[in-house]
């Protein structure tokens, strides 16, 4: 099923068709009013699009239009047609040149404001004749926007002529086995003349139906209708003159439309004077002849088929046939193709509106029946996918992303280059690493010459290596070589000899610890023996040291205040314990005191106690093997 919608003041109409492409059927028709875009006080509505959106949304929702394939009909008020001849028939080439061709043919409208479609009428050895359908973009865009704003997706958009052709070419009168026919279709105030042969359209023209255009509505009186028709005729002719004599196109003023239906048309024809009728017939006959002349058919039309005139169809067909010299004349109802009941009556009651045939013709595109293959929804009118809608912000984001990442890249690249240059400059400066390296060893040649340096040692001196492509590594190598050589000269060893703990340094630390304990007047060191595995301290500590003496030592800063109440032996033991805890690289565990000896009495009644404390030393560990440096151990 598919739906076509036509939106034009004063109506919105829609038609739903079902069935297949070969046998389409009208299912439902909806007609609603489209209020004029004016406020209550008669002033124009500022937001015309908003007004249209609201009207369309209300129509779709009130009528519960189903969400199916929906096509927008572009009425005659939004269309222009041009018959052009091109020197080729290839579609890709045609599409490439078409805008430029049309631009010259419609000089009063920028080509950017038109959306184009075409159908090939005749292919000839020297090219092809096309009928170009040019729709105003604003017309199409505003209506699509209204439909989409209401929540209905628009599958495509096509012209009223396409609708007429789509529907008409389904009629049996235009089947391939029939003889050539001249087809005149009247839809309200718009007439279409076509030449059909072997089931194909060879020529087509759209023109304003003379003396029919006028006040719409079936209640208009005959006199009023005549007056309105005359005015419309004048307007139409004035508009035709706009095209500088080009009468290939017709564009109705927006107040005129196809809104009058067959019954209204028939009524107007009935109320025409003889003079008006003759003029009407004459004008239509002229258009028909021009069409025949332009197409220059191999076979002259032998039949005249008139559609869209309702009850007056047979009469007008006969009169036009006489005018054109065609004897076989017939009036048909195009809507019968899609709305024929069992007993010859319409299956669905249709309103008397001229756009019904257009709508039905456009709607059946949704069923697969598409004679012209025209869809105005392309380019900037194309149905938007999520990507289409996101294109602009995406392009903006992409530009920003490119700029941002490009700037980041350039900044980091520039910085990297600057650092590279900086390192190269460090390496390549006059007094650079190479100069300094050579300067460091400038006197070694003299040493060797004077036999102050052996040839072996001289050969083991580091050599400078240039690494042209990697200045950083060159500096690193130079630094490492000089650093190692300086360490070597300072006595650092790289051998694996098992060196003992430094007894002299241990001795100094023990003396410091004894001093920190605050030795009394009676203290005496008897022996300090620093051996590779242990340190033995023999001493005598006072037993008669008085509080007064300790206080004096505190005052003289020979004793820490917190030790003023501690006996001398305990102070020494604590101080040695602190030593073993701080110098863990040498000492293995806490001090091991021997049992103090018997008190010994000295002069002045002073007493001391001999004591011995042993500090265990850690066993030296061999260093992990390394590459020997020049010169070996020193």
């Amino acid at each position: 099923m598919a739906i076509a919608v036509y939106i034009e003041y004063p109506r919105i109409s829609a038609i739903e068709v079902s069935g297949s492409a070969r046998k389409p059927r009208v299912k439902r028709v909806w007609v609603g009013t489209l209020a004029e875009a004016r406020n209550e006080d008669g002033t124009p509505v500022a937001d015309r699009q908003g007004h249209l959106n609201a009207q369309v949304a209300a129509f779709l929702k009130d009528n519960k239009i189903p969400h199916q394939k929906l096509f927008l009909l572009v009425g005659p008020e939004g269309m222009r047609y041009r018959d052009i001849h091109l020197a080729f028939a290839d579609k890709r080439q045609i599409e490439r040149v078409l805008p430029f061709q049309v631009e010259g043919l419609i000089p009063n409208m920028p080509i950017e404001d038109l959306t184009l479609g075409y159908n090939i009428l005749r292919e000839e050895p020297d090219g092809a004749h096309l009928l170009v359908h040019a729709a105003e973009k604003d017309y199409v865009r505003s209506r699509i926007a209204a439909l989409e704003e209401a929540g209905w997706g628009v599958e495509g958009s096509d012209s009223h002529l396409s609708g007429t052709l789509n529907l008409g070419m389904l009629h049996t009168e235009f089947s391939a086995e029939k003889s050539p026919a001249l087809w005149l279709d009247f839809a309200g105030t718009i007439a279409t003349v076509g030449e059909v042969h072997k089931g194909k359209l060879f020529a087509a023209r759209v023109f304003l139906s003379p003396y029919l255009a006028g006040a719409s509505g079936g209640t208009a009186g005959a006199e009023a209708a005549k007056e309105a028709a005359r005015q419309a005729q004048a307007d139409a002719e004035a508009r035709a003159r706009e095209f500088q004599g080009s009468t290939e196109s017709v564009k109705l003023p927006s107040s005129e439309s196809v809104n009058i239906g067959e019954q209204e048309v028939a009524d107007r024809i009935r109320h025409m004077s003889r003079d008006e009728l003759l003029k009407f017939l004459s004008r239509v006959a002229i258009e028909a002849r021009r069409t025949i002349l332009m197409s220059n058919p191999e076979e002259e039309p032998q039949r005249l088929i008139v559609s869209g005139l309702g009850g007056a169809g047979e009469q007008i067909a006969t009169l036009l046939g006489n005018e054109l010299g065609i004897s076989e004349c017939k009036s048909i109802d195009l809507m019968q193709t899609v709305n024929a009941g069992k007993d010859g009556k319409p299956e669905v009651d249709l309103p008397d509106a001229g756009e019904m045939s257009y709508l039905a013709g456009v709607a059946i595109k949704g069923l697969g029946r598409d004679y012209t293959h025209i869809n105005f929804r392309y380019g900037d009118l194309a149905p938007g996918t999520l990507f289409d809608y996101a294109k602009t912000p995406l392009a903006f984001t992409a530009t920003l992303a490119l700029l941002f990442s490009g700037i980041l890249f350039l900044m980091s690249w520039t910085h990297a280059r600057q650092y590279e240059r900086g390192i190269s400059e460090l390496r390549d400066r006059d007094q650079g690493p190479e100069f300094l390296f050579k300067k460091a060893f400038a006197h070694t040649a003299k040493l060797k010459a004077e036999d102050k340096m052996s040839a072996e040692d001289f050969a083991k001196l580091p050599k400078y290596t240039v690494i042209e492509e990697d200045p950083t590594q060159e500096i690193i190598n130079t630094h490492k070589a000089l650093q190692n050589h300086q360490k070597f000269l300072m006595g650092e060893t790289s051998d694996n000899y098992l060196r003992p703990l430094p007894a002299d340094q241990i001795m100094v630390e023990v003396f410091k610890a004894l001093g920190a304990a605050g030795p009394s007047y009676d203290f005496a060191l008897i022996q300090l023996n620093v051996q590779p595995t242990s340190v033995t301290i023999d001493f005598v500590s006072s037993l008669t040291e008085t509080q007064k003496e300790r206080d004096k030592m505190v005052r003289d800063k020979l004793l820490a205040p917190e030790l003023k109440d501690v006996a001398e032996y305990d102070r020494i033991l604590a101080s040695l314990r602190a030593l073993t805890l701080t110098q863990t690289k040498w000492f293995d565990g806490e001090p091991r005191p021997d049992t103090p000896g018997r008190p010994v009495e000295g002069p002045e009644g002073r007493q001391v106690r001999p004591a011995k404390i042993t500090l265990l030393l850690k066993k030296p560990q061999p260093k992990p093997a390394t590459t020997p440096t020049p010169g070996g151990a020193k």
Partner: protein, 194 residues
């Protein structure tokens, strides 16, 4: 009618922009890593260059002094004469062998092994007898100054000759206490030097 060229161009532009942005970001990732490395390298290189200046001066100065005979590098023969150096130091402080106050034994080499490495260990022992604290302190200081470049003090034994309690003497601030001091030095050399 086909899609407009502008729309295609827009799509191409978006894709190209994102693709280029991605390439630029990948490039940024790599160049930024390189930049970080180079920034660190640059700072380190500048610091190394400053060090190279100092090392060059130090090493150059050392070899200059060697070339001018101002300093001499310790060599194996000098090491072998360690006992003579110690004797000289003792004599300098009037600690004479003739008074039985000084005794030194020439260095003895003992083969040693640390892991797979074989080497020689040289030991030299000096004994100072009946010396004051002032004397042995001065002797040890001079010994370390002379031999510190190649030798390690293996052991020191400071033994007071008078093991009795004589507080009075010490408290007088004088230094009459006699000591017997044994100091043992050790250094190493490759086995080939044997």
């Amino acid at each position: 009618m086909a899609e407009q060229e502008g729309s295609k161009a827009m799509t191409i532009y978006i894709v190209a922009c994102f693709a280029l942005a991605m390439v630029a970001l990948i490039g940024y990732k790599f160049t930024n890593e390189k930049r970080d490395v180079l920034a660190t390298d640059y700072i380190a290189s500048a610091a190394r260059y400053a060090d190279i200046n100092v090392y060059s001066l130090n090493i150059g100065d050392y070899y200059y002094k060697r070339s001018q005979g101002l300093i001499n590098a310790p060599d194996r023969s000098a090491m072998a004469r360690t006992h003579e150096k110690l004797r000289g130091i003792a004599e300098k402080h009037r600690i004479l062998e003739t008074d039985n106050r000084f005794n030194v034994t020439p260095a003895r080499a003992e083969p040693k092994k640390a892991g797979k490495e074989r080497y020689l260990e040289y030991k030299c022992r000096a004994v100072l007898d009946n010396v004051t604290m002032t004397e042995w302190q001065a002797f040890i200081e001079d010994t370390l100054a002379e031999t510190g470049k190649y030798a390690v003090v293996l052991s020191i034994n400071l033994e007071r000759k008078q093991r009795t309690f004589n507080r009075i003497e010490i408290s007088k601030g004088t230094d009459f206490t006699q000591w017997k001091v044994t100091i043992e030095l050790v250094w190493f050399g490759p086995e080939a030097a044997k």
